[in-house]
């Protein structure tokens, strides 16, 4: 190879390309780009070993802005391309960037199988609950009643939960973040990177043009503290402006209910402690969206299992790259003509 040595410590700027970023001003993607660049700096990623793969959509432009290797592919299929990259070279550090239409509509099948196989890469789903690049049609995560050019009277469909989908598909790492949470996001991405296997991260991302404010019901400053819960492994599930609200498991309904510490008999001991290795718990956290329960962010689930690459390495272990083609052509029955 070549003798260029990377500087000992790269900065976020070193991961930015000279290409003009073409997202709409105020788009949530800018914040995520910043968080990813900071993450790569923090983990001391090497640009030449890092690959960003994307499909189609606003989010899919992401690789053009990363000073790493990048492959902008076709709609919905980024998981399949990324799998191929890893089959060729399992040592590469691969990140897939996708959106709600790309990952859950046209590419739902590929995401399902990526997660099931547990290919070792990071999958970032920018969920803005709308089709941006095609000018504002409803997406599979749009809420029922969403008015859009293709649903002028409101969507009649039930939205899909990205994190529940991921857990259902067998994901071993499921996290959720919000574009505006610059404090938490790099931490989540670092954990995602450290996880061996497919790390699925849903990021609520505001589309300022076609779906502005769609997450305000839990991200607006005035309500965020009471409508969100940031979960941490081993910590009680507490939230609220005064951090005095907690989630208690109701043994009859097998569902969470909100209690207030010191009110109506609510005490800290009753608050459920987060265990990120518990899939049932993760599923309950993922499905909290109805009014009265906060929206969970943080690492909902992390429970490593052997990655696809590990399985493949086992299969290829006995393989010698120099297997003799002549013996391949001559195995079985042959005969000689004199």
């Amino acid at each position: 190879m070549n003798s260029i040595m990377p500087p000992t410590k790269l900065t976020a700027k070193d991961f930015a390309t000279d290409q003009e970023v073409r997202w709409c001003p105020g788009c949530g993607d800018y914040a995520i780009l910043k968080a990813v660049q900071k993450t790569l700096t923090d983990i001391e990623a090497t640009p030449e070993n890092t690959v960003f793969v994307s499909g189609i959509g606003c989010a899919a432009r992401f690789p053009y802005y990363m000073e790493t290797y990048g492959f902008h592919t076709i709609h919905g299929r980024a998981p399949a391309f990324a799998t191929g990259v890893k089959l060729a070279n399992p040592d590469l550090d691969v990140w897939v960037v996708s959106g709600d239409g790309d990952a859950l509509s046209i590419g739902g099948n590929h995401l399902l199988h990526l997660l099931r196989r547990n290919v070792d890469l990071q999958f970032l789903l920018f969920n803005n609950e709308i089709y941006g690049l095609t000018k504002g049609q409803y997406s599979p995560t749009s809420r029922a009643g969403t008015r859009s050019p293709s649903t002028p009277k409101g969507s009649i469909e039930t939205p899909l939960s990205a994190t529940q989908f991921a857990l259902g598909a067998g994901a071993r790492f499921v996290a959720r973040g919000i574009d505006s949470q610059q404090k938490q996001l790099p931490g989540l991405l670092k954990r995602a990177h450290a996880h061996q296997g497919t790390s699925f991260v849903e990021i609520f991302q505001n589309c300022i043009v076609y779906n502005d404010g769609v997450f305000d019901d839990f991200t607006a400053k005035s309500v965020a503290a009471d409508r969100q819960i940031y979960v941490e492994h081993g910590q009680p599930l507490l939230f609220g402006a005064d951090n005095n609200k907690g989630l208690r498991m109701n043994g009859d309904t097998l569902a969470f209910e909100v209690i207030t510490i010191g009110e109506g008999g609510g005490c800290l001991e009753d608050v459920h402690v987060h265990d990120e290795t518990n899939r049932n718990l993760a599923t309950m956290l993922a499905q909290m969206s109805e009014p009265g329960l906060p929206v969970a962010t943080g690492i909902l689930y992390c429970n490593p299992a052997p990655s696809y690459e590990q399985g493949l390495a086992g299969l290829m272990e006995t393989a010698q790259s120099s297997g003799d083609i002549n013996s391949l052509l001559r195995h079985g029955h042959t005969w000689t003509v004199d």
Binding site: Y69, I325, L329
Partner: protein, 628 residues
């Protein structure tokens, strides 16, 4: 058994076998009767006895179609002989019909005076009715033109394995080996390879192996000791004497293609990543390669056809040789991804084992109707290279050629095989891998002056820089790239330039492939027959038969479908008439007419069956009549 053997020896006839140059045998039965295994074992024994051969497995799409039905008939045909064999044969000398349905479906192609062996044990009223016989054909004049050997194979098999402790169901499964033993005797073939095969196949079920061998021996013994037909003392076919010396084996197209891809990847010094989704009749390639990890082959059974293509392209982007394989319906799904490989100029081999279409069509029947799909079937101006294999063994060379062009020109290459050559077997003189020319790939490592679409001025191929290489970090995608930087560009003039460059790169491949030669006959004259792909065998035989009768006709056979060989237009212009036989409704015909403005005429057949030699001979003669 020992006692029986002694009796057989006493009864062994002094045979004077009738010598034949070649013979065609067709085994036909229910799809659960094991006819494909029977044919495969007959093929192996024939090959090892030093004869030329060609086979044609012909089976239904259903794994176990309802028993006794005409649509559930599974057949295996072999043509073998002393002379050079080019097809599986127009008509059979011997037909084995394991039930009335097989007799009903296959009898039309038995030669007049040919031998038909029927298992009367399967000729129940119910089976006769299922096959559409009002009356028993064995009792009527239905078989009047043929020599009929009636055997209760079911009962004879049960008798042969009676002492071996099998259930009746298991015992009846040995019927096909009983029959094989019988037919082995008819042609003086040895049983040893089949016995060895049974021992290894049923290594863990010795009782099954022994029962099948007992049935095989019993069938052979009965043929040897009984009066098969009045005066019939068996056939003898001498070893082929016109075979080039060397080491031989039989190969199917699927095997040769798989090994050719592996050999090509080795010659390119690349790991192969083979990504596929199961589909008839392409799956044998996936199966073969899945067992070749020691040859640096990674296989990936994707979740669908699209993912298979995309993963293969991802692998090429990552620095391996990405290969995807399917049949027409699957290739249709891969279309958008292939367009991306064209736009990003990545090497990719797409294998299409064609089947009869449109849509699901006839999955197990052969056709050549994906030529348009291959050359034209994508959105935008999306040129790539198309190569067609002509025979099972030729799949090896064709696959290597695809890898060479894909890596040298940074382009997708479609390799066309079809259901016929994919499943058919022929003897193959095994090449020495060390004699093949290597074409090792060199990845770009020098950052000086690098951009991802920097081109080789000769081939116009872009540089191949793979992730993991310091200093060459870059982004590529399906959006148009600027010619001089590789960055996204919406500039109209640049799009014109890039479109022209992509087209010229592919057209330039014509300078890197052999000039078209004439397969047989003069290189100008009254009539040329132009073929491609698996019609090679029948066209070649038909033309040589006519030439032997003094007819002036030439045979030209294309391997390179796109780009066409650089001298093809001139060569075709030297003939008064041009006839293009194809198993489609005229796809190469349209291409040739549009490329060269030649008034070529088609001969088209889409019955799911390969051309018969006599069909071609008659059509060629009729065409020559027109000229007069």
């Amino acid at each position: 058994m020992a006692a029986n053997t002694a009796i057989q020896k006493n009864l062994t006839k002094t045979t004077t076998r009738q010598h034949l140059d070649s013979a065609v045998v067709r085994f036909a039965g229910d799809s659960g009767d094991g006819m494909q295994i029977t044919g495969g074992q007959f093929t192996l024994a024939t090959a090892l006895s030093g004869k030329n051969l060609a086979t044609f497995p012909d089976f239904p799409a259903e794994i176990r179609a309802p028993a006794g039905t005409t649509f559930g008939v599974s057949s295996f045909q072999i043509n073998f002989g002393t002379k050079t064999i080019k097809t599986s044969g127009d008509e059979f000398d011997v037909l084995v019909a394991m039930n009335p349905a097989a007799l009903r479906v296959e009898i039309k192609d038995l030669k007049i005076g040919g031998i038909v062996i029927v298992d009367i044990g399967a000729f129940s009223k119910r089976n006769l009715r299922k096959a559409g016989f009002e009356t028993d054909p064995l009792e009527s004049t239905f078989l009047g033109r043929y020599r009929v050997i009636k055997l209760d194979i079911s009962q004879l098999t049960l008798d042969a394995v009676a002492d071996l402790g099998l259930s009746k169901k298991e015992a009846l499964r040995c019927k096909n080996f009983w029959t094989l033993g019988y037919v082995f005797w008819m042609f003086g073939q040895k049983r040893q390879t089949t016995q060895d095969w049974l021992h290894s196949k049923f290594a863990t079920r010795e009782d099954i192996a022994n029962a099948n061998i007992a049935a095989l021996n019993a069938g052979h013994a009965l043929a040897e000791t009984s009066e098969v037909l009045d005066g019939f003392q068996g056939y003898a076919i001498a070893k082929a004497h016109n075979i080039e010396p060397g080491l031989y084996r039989t190969v199917t197209g699927g095997e040769a293609l798989s090994w050719g891809l592996a050999a090509g990847a080795r010659l390119a010094d690349l790991k192969m990543v083979f990504c596929s989704y199961p589909i008839t009749p392409a799956s044998p390639i996936l199966h073969a390669l899945s067992n070749m990890s020691e040859h640096n082959v990674v296989t990936f059974q994707a979740e669908d056809e699209i993912a298979a293509a995309c993963a293969a392209i991802g692998a090429s982007y990552g620095g391996s040789l990405g290969v995807t394989s399917s049949s027409g319906p699957g290739v249709a799904l891969k279309g958008e991804a292939i367009g991306l490989a064209i736009s990003t100029e990545l090497p990719l081999v797409i294998v299409n084992t064609q089947r009869a279409g449109p849509s699901t069509g006839l999955p197990t029947k052969t056709e050549q109707s994906d030529l348009f799909q291959s050359v034209f079937g994508r959105n935008g101006d999306a040129p790539l290279v198309v190569i067609a294999a002509r025979s099972p063994a030729d799949c090896f060379d064709a696959a290597i050629e695809c890898v060479r062009i894909a890596t040298k020109y940074m382009t997708p290459v479609i390799l066309l095989s079809d259901g016929y050559i994919g499943n058919a077997a022929e003897p193959w003189k095994i090449p020495d891998f060390d004699d093949l020319d290597a074409f090792p790939v060199t990845f770009r490592t020098d950052p000086e002056g690098f951009h991802p679409f920097a081109r080789d001025p000769q081939t116009l191929a872009r540089t191949w820089a793979v992730p993991g290489t310091p200093g060459l970090e870059h982004r590529i995608g399906g959006i148009e790239k600027h010619y001089d930087s590789g960055h996204i560009s919406y500039d109209p003039d640049n799009h014109q330039k890039m479109t022209d460059t992509r087209a010229n790169k592919i057209l330039g491949v014509a300078n890197d492939i052999p000039e078209q030669t004439v397969e047989s006959g003069p290189n100008h004259g009254k009539l040329a027959v132009l073929g491609w792909g698996s019609t090679f065998g029948p066209i070649s035989r038909a033309v040589s038969n006519l030439q032997a009768r003094g007819v002036e006709v030439s045979h030209i056979h294309l391997r390179h479908i796109w780009p066409l060989p650089r001298n093809l237009g001139g060569l075709l212009g030297g003939f008064d008439r041009l006839m293009i036989p194809e198993m489609n409704t005229g796809q190469l015909l349209t291409l040739i007419r549009s490329e060269y403005l030649i008034d070529a005429q088609g001969l088209n057949k889409v019955s799911g069956q390969p051309f018969k030699i006599h069909e071609l001979e008659e059509a060629i003669e009729a065409r020559l009549e027109d000229v007069k």
